[in-house]
């Protein structure tokens, strides 16, 4: 295997791996808080579940970038084209925004979701407002997704 291909795969890994970790940590934080609320009031399962799901999107964004890179590289096809080291590094760079921002924003969005679950615990009717706070954090994951996407699509193989 060429070094270029290796770097390209590293890019795929960075995008899906870091963003996935971020989402896993974020949803875990929110899930713990949600479980606490549901212990007290099982009727709040649905509402808290929605909030727990919010930090889960970063992982999906990472997956999207990963899949786009894989389809560009023809991983699903028979053979992977040769890449120069430079091209491989470009994939690695393209994976970084969604990976790193996804990691960090996932965790912090999880914290915002925990706080919002606190809203649901005390004010069950306020799901609409509670959803918005974590969603603001997600903006930056979306922006990094856009940048990663445009970078990936900009690489000429």
């Amino acid at each position: 295997m060429e070094l270029g291909q290796f770097f390209a795969f590293a890019g795929i890994a960075v995008a899906t791996l870091l963003a996935g970790i971020g989402s896993a940590m974020g949803t875990s934080l929110a899930g713990q808080a949600a479980a606490g609320v549901v212990t007290e009031d099982p009727d709040k399962f649905g509402q808290t579940l929605v909030l727990q799901a919010l930090p889960g999107t970063q992982g999906i964004y990472g997956l999207i970038i990963g899949v786009i890179m894989m389809s560009q590289l023809g991983v699903f096809g028979a053979n992977i084209p040769d890449l120069t080291v430079q091209q491989g590094l470009m994939y690695l760079a393209a994976g970084c925004p969604v990976g790193i921002v996804g990691l960090i924003s996932g965790i912090y969005q999880g914290r915002a979701a925990v706080a919002s679950i606190g809203i649901i615990a005390k004010q069950p009717g306020q799901l609409g407002k509670a959803i918005i706070f974590p969603a603001i954090v997600e903006t930056y994951a979306i922006l990094s997704l856009i940048v990663s996407l445009l970078m990936t699509l900009g690489i000429r193989v």
């Binding site: 964004y61 899949v67 699903f76 609409g128 959803i131 918005i132 603001i136 979306i142 997704l145 699509l153």
Partner: protein, 660 residues
Amino acid sequence: MAIVKMKKLALAGLISDEQAVVQTLHRMSLVEITDVKEQLSDEQQSIIDMQQVQDKLEQLDNDISRMKYTLDFLERFVPDKKGMFTGKPLVKADDYKTAAQKLDELIKIYETCRDFDEELTSIKGQRMRINNAISQMSPWVALDTPLSEVRDTRFVRLVLGTMPVVLLDGFKKAVEEDGIGCYIHNISQDRNTAYLFMAFHKNDQEILEPILRQYEWNDADLAEYSLKPAQHIEQCQHELEKLERSENEIIRQSVELTKYRLDLKLANDYLMIQKQRVEVLSDFAATRQTFILTGWVPAERTDELQGRVSSITDAYWLDFEDPVEGEPFPVAFKNNKLLRPFEMLTEMYSMPAPYSIDPTPAVAPFYFIFFGIMVGDAAYGILISVAFFAAMHFMRTKGMGQKLIMLLALCGISTAFWGAMFGSWFGDLFHIKPLWFNPMEQPMLMMVVSLIFGVVHILVGIGLKAYMSVKDGHVADAIFDQVSWMMVLGGASVWLAPLLSNMLLSTPAPQLEGAAQIGLYVAVAGVVILLVTQGRSQKNIFMKVFSGVGSLYNITGFLSDILSYSRLFALGLASGMIATVINILAGLVGMSGINLIISIPILIIGHLFNLAINGLGAYVHSSRLQYIEFFGKFFESGGKAFRPFHIETKYTDIENEEAV
């Protein structure tokens, strides 16, 4: 596009008509009652006697809690079946009256249930005690002697006790070494403890005692038992069976009582309605012969109210009054049927201030479009619409729930539309050609489309602020603060259009050059207006200039607002991408013959998951664009929602509220 005009109402009448008036107002759900006593002097307040109301409330509360207790008790044995589409039972007004007549009977049932509950608790306690006895006795089962016979004789001490298994051998050795005549019988032993019978001469007691302590001997506390251990256990088991039987009997009878469940629910709701009618009296003021109430009523329905009141009695005084300039009144919306579901988005954020505008008509089209773009799959859209239109048809929901269902049903249509435009039907499953373009092949075009929507949305937001200023009579402010910015943003967008088209879409657009020139002039004119006017409230000439120039810095805020709309592009692409991934996964398994057994579940579960997660994302982010980017431009919050005096029930829905 309007906030409903409200009128202040004051109604006075004879106390003999009070009940009828309250009943009518309750049924009409038209008047928000305000506390009349706030307008009275202390002296006037002192003659109002609330004691009777308090007593009545207490009685009702008491009965309501009894009904609820009974229902909760029965719920423990036969959970109330709640299907997704069944909801609360729909009942007639007469049913309440029938149930209310049975109230005495129902209170008897409550008492029965309370006794049952106490008995069950006592059974639980007894069972625990017996189980303790059994576990205490069971190690001694092998002792085939009545415990009453294990008592000291004249010279010999007979004892039962326990010792840790690990120490047993050491103990035996120690006894042997000391030469004490001692009979040790190991009755049973578990992992840690040996259960022993010992017999020794009373004279040896003193020597033996320290040894026993050393080897952690514990006397078994069995003084209260006299029969053989096995007999005791048998007795306990017998008692347990008896308890079980009486428990089953109670459960059986309780289950039988569930046939009163509907009656209990009806009685509960009947009492709740009565309670609401008594509770409201605490906001009235009454003398021995008359009462007066105040409240808010929608201006357009005053005649209806007057008519209803006059049909009760002639002896009344009713007065409607416009709110004093600036006096806050409760806020209600008036929109047509299509816009009504979108009211919920506004309500969720905050009610607008009484003298501002209802943003719902402006929110609705953008929310509709944005949701559609963000999910962006025709098949998903059809699924959403079908599911929620079905829910609307089969479920009886009220308030927010109903609005949400209608909102999603409508947004499904938009989703289907945009999905068809982008050629996404379950992603690329069927390879259907897009009606417009495929965002995955032309992402930059998608990005530009998103940003154009953003510019339009923000221009509308600023425009609404201008409209509000003009409505309040501040035409100059509207031109200086809002129109100027609209010129800057709109002009700059047109001016940059050919450049962006060339850069981002790689399509030169010479036909736009002329428009771009005009756009530039408009933008520059806007900038000039801003420079000249933004310092108008400052006295100092330097501050005037500084404020003018400084205001241009706001352009960065608008820029970030517009870029925020790129989420339309990102989320729209995301759902398409995940759909593609799911299709690839299914494709890897194979789409023919026996492989379909695996690939079809992958497709179904995968697409449902994608639909759920992207539906949630679209709902959240479309809301966000309204709340932050859009409302930030004009919305004045701080209104209090109009809450008319209305009938509320817990367990049942009423078919015809007018008859209750």
